[in-house]
């Protein structure tokens, strides 16, 4: 018997803290080696932490919802055998990669189903333990598995035979945030078409200058700059609604999130104090956080504290659509791809580079006039980019 303090290991990718999502066992419960004990959530993923050995969990030191730092004691286990220092702790210089999650070789071990049926169940995401077998002795057939999928109330519209993938990590986070957004925020979106000729030229010039000095200049830099200036002029767009207290919180800082597509899904890293940074510093900050997001290396602090979001769908050759606000923010602006379009200037039809823009705001805090006013400020800043101070 030995007492072992299980500390939050470095769960990888530079995260210094994580939130206790769920206890999977209670104090006094007996656990086997590698049995998941607690589920930790970061802004990027949910990780189940397995027990370092067989024994009894005698004390939980943190509660669900607590945000704890790497190295903090999560629980104490009385183990049957001595556990080497380093097991589940942070002593190793190079952090150990996290142990695999719960799935064990003996999954569904007690279920009567031949290999091909188990394969089918895996592909359909069906838990065989929940399927009623109609064969002799409760044997589960392929039809039983398919029937279970069809009957499952959670997926009424899913065609049988499709693949099911568990929602987790970044994707799960996105699902939660966007559901909250769509359910609670009355969204209003206005569409605008901006003449982006001068803006595009300016970006090209600044990028060339930067590259000649060996630096990088992301396209989004000037969009963040434009947003920061507009937010200073229209502080209601840089605010949050505190629903419970019936108050609007006007934020001091202007922290602009940049929606970034990553292999894991959508991540919105935040450029802090975007209104105070000079152009080089802003370019470097935009470059750093978006690159980190794409490489899956953002820290928790990089994705927290946003007060406003921009989404540049043009970067992915996208057109324009509506966006969902990221609660508790008040608005989001999306920019589409710059394309030559026929526009009328002084009575003549001419080809001009046009960038579509949509401004989406929370109608609980912001009315239509304020929304239009903010959009016009942005439009002016982008169409006459000399105002951007670049």
């Amino acid at each position: 018997m030995a007492r072992f303090e299980f500390r939050l290991p470095d769960i990888g990718e530079g995260l210094a803290e994580a939130e206790v999502a769920r206890w999977l066992v209670a104090t006094g419960d007996r656990v086997t080696e590698d049995q998941p004990v607690v589920e930790m959530m970061t802004d990027k993923a949910t990780v189940e932490l397995p027990s370092p050995g067989a024994g009894v969990v005698v004390e939980q030191r943190v509660a669900e919802g607590d945000v704890v730092k790497t190295g903090a004691v999560l629980y104490v286990i009385e183990t049957d055998a001595q556990i080497a220092a380093g097991g589940g702790s942070t002593h190793a210089e190079e952090p150990s990669r996290s142990a695999p999650a719960t799935a064990s070789v003996s999954e569904n071990a007690g279920v009567l189903a031949p290999p091909a049926v188990r394969k089918l169940a895996r592909e359909l995401g069906v838990d065989l333990a929940a399927v009623k077998g109609t064969g002799p002795g409760g044997r589960i057939s392929a039809e039983d598995v398919k029937g279970h999928t069809a009957a499952a109330p959670a997926a009424p519209a899913t065609a049988a035979g499709g693949r099911r993938v568990r929602l987790r990590g970044v994707q799960k986070r996105m699902a939660e945030t966007m559901t909250l957004s769509a359910r609670t925020i009355p969204h209003v979106t206005g569409f605008h078409e901006l003449d982006a000729g001068a803006f595009a030229d300016l970006v090209t010039r600044l990028r060339r200058d930067a590259e000649s000095k060996g630096a990088r200049f992301p396209f989004d830099t000037l969009l963040v700059r434009a947003a920061a200036i507009a937010l200073r002029r229209h502080p209601i767009f840089n605010s949050s609604l505190d629903d419970e207290r019936g108050e609007i919180v006007m934020h001091e800082d202007v922290n602009v999130g940049v929606a970034t597509a990553t292999p894991d899904g959508l991540i919105v890293p935040v450029v802090k104090h975007a209104d105070t940074l000079d152009l080089n510093a802003l370019a470097a900050a935009v470059d750093r956080v978006t690159l980190a997001a794409r490489e899956g290396k953002v820290s928790v602090s990089d994705v927290q504290g946003g007060t406003f979001t921009i989404s540049n769908t043009g970067a992915w050759r996208g057109g324009l659509g509506t966006s969902l606000i990221r609660p508790p923010e008040a608005a989001i602006v999306a920019f589409g791809r710059i394309e030559e379009k026929a526009v009328v200037r002084d009575g003549n039809v001419v080809a001009r580079p046009v960038m579509p823009m949509s401004v989406t705001f929370d109608h609980r805090m912001i009315d239509g006039e304020q929304g239009l006013s903010f959009a016009l400020t942005l439009r002016s800043l982008i169409e006459k980019p000399e105002q951007l101070g670049a």
Partner: protein
């Protein structure tokens, strides 16, 4: 080594071209991945093909044929005399191995798998260094890596290998003469197979083990193995004092188990920590999102067919398919006297796990085929769940057991019951009938043994 050394991208990098690694490579390549396979020995197929399964079974089959011919002499077969020409035999063994290596090589070629010869070690989380010969190194930056470096023979603490008189098992399959005296140390199937094969080929063999033979098999199979080895002429000694057994000057083969080949991989540089000398993987054979491990480096039986199934599953997952290694029974086979095979729970394991079982045991003495072949000492012992009757374990001793076990593994996977087996027609006269008969025995209605149900 300098940071920034030139490196090659590797979509899928597989370390080790044994039965796990080459199968994973072929499957991943079939599914469109670009695969680089690193093998230090310069020959694909691993220990199994080059110095383990294939050579040992080749020797076992040669020895068994000699033994069969000798037995038939009593029935009028022209008799054999003297020792076999092992030099000639070795040519045919090497030929068989060569054919198979060539086969795997050409499959890899056809699949577009790049094979690199060298010793691999991690130098980072996504980078592997391969030492090619003395001077040359190559670096690979992988998207996904599969660790399939296999295992090596463990050294016996009191009888270390000296490469000459005391050797590891694989060397025994290369001998160009039959040793007059042979001491085999060990209790596992490897030791037993070598002891029986050389006894049949003409050596005076002592098999020394500290515990019962085949210690992790069902007790009844251990007993059958012990009796059979004696029948084949092996002097079986249970002793912990190895110095006192076997004649002086005898050749010595030691089988002391196997250990995973992980030490030289610098796993810590990839942020990986083995525990208990093994890698622990999930059902998708992952240690980490992009790090897979299969075969003898993973926790479980060090058997080629387990590695091959894991290789297929890992290859499927690398190819984007949904798959899991969830086999319910891994067969274990022994080419000794008699052939022995097992799958699923042993009687002791069932007892320890408080699983109530009904046992059906059918002796080969009651089987036509066994009488034809004068091999009536074996049996089929099947364990069925008392509740529901599904097959939980099969333990076979007798000719062709190593083939018959396939039916038992399938039955376990399918959740077949004693009734299913009993009601399935098995061809007559074959050893396979013993399985149907054992199922009948468990149901209390045997035809070919006494003690069936009475009215």
């Amino acid at each position: 080594m300098v940071a920034g050394d030139q490196s090659d991208p590797a979509d899928v990098l597989i370390l080790g071209a044994g039965p796990g690694g080459y199968v994973a490579a072929l499957r991943a390549a079939q599914l469109g991945r670009s695969v680089t396979l690193v093998e230090r020995s310069g020959r694909v197929g691993g220990v199994c093909l080059n110095e383990g399964c294939i050579p040992s079974k080749h020797v076992a089959r040669f020895a068994a044929a000699k033994s069969t011919a000798e037995k038939l002499a009593a029935s009028g077969m022209p008799s054999l005399s003297g020792l076999p020409d092992m030099a000639a035999y070795q040519k045919s063994r090497a030929g068989a191995v060569g054919t198979l290596v060539k086969g795997v090589t050409s499959l890899l070629e056809a699949a577009g798998v790049k094979v690199v010869t060298g010793s691999a070690r991690f130098v980072g989380r996504t980078r592997v260094c391969v030492e090619i010969g003395e001077e040359s190194v190559r670096y690979f930056d992988f998207k996904d890596v599969v660790i399939a470096t296999g295992s090596s023979a463990l050294t016996h603490e009191t009888m270390p290998y000296d490469g000459d008189r005391v050797v590891e098992p694989s060397r025994a399959f290369e001998w160009k003469e039959v040793p007059a005296d042979l001491l085999v140390v060990g209790s596992d199937y490897i030791a037993l197979e070598i002891a029986v094969a050389y006894a049949r080929l003409g050596s005076r063999v002592t098999l020394a083990s500290r515990e019962r033979l085949l210690p992790d098999f069902d007790q009844d199979l251990s007993a059958a193995a012990q009796r059979g080895a004696k029948t084949a002429g092996v002097n079986v000694v249970t002793s912990s004092d190895l110095k006192s057994v076997g004649p002086a000057g005898a050749r010595v083969v030691v089988s002391a188990g196997r250990r995973a080949n992980l030490d030289e991989l610098d796993l810590q540089l990839a942020g990986l920590t083995p525990s208990g000398g093994m890698l622990h993987v999930d059902a998708q054979l992952r240690i980490d999102r992009h790090v897979f491990a299969i075969g003898d480096v993973t926790d479980g039986l060090p058997l080629a067919h387990r590695a091959m199934m894991q290789g297929r599953v890992a290859g499927d997952i690398l190819g984007g398919k949904t798959a899991a290694f969830d086999s319910r029974a891994i067969p274990r086979i022994v080419f000794a006297e008699p052939e022995i095979a097992a799958a699923g729970l042993t009687e002791a394991e069932a007892h320890a796990a408080d699983v109530e079982v009904t046992i059906g045991r059918f002796p080969l003495a009651a089987l036509g085929r066994a009488v034809i072949e004068s091999s009536t000492s074996g049996f089929a012992k099947l364990l069925f769940a008392k509740d529901g009757g599904t097959l939980l374990g099969a333990h076979l001793a007798g000719p062709r057991s190593t083939e018959l076990i396939a039916e038992m593994v399938l039955a376990i996977e399918m959740g077949a019951t004693a009734e299913d087996l009993a009601l399935t027609v098995h061809a007559h006269p074959t050893f396979a009938e013993s399985l149907m008969e054992a199922a009948e025995v468990s149901l209390g209605r045997a035809i070919h043994v006494r003690g069936g149900p009475k009215r």
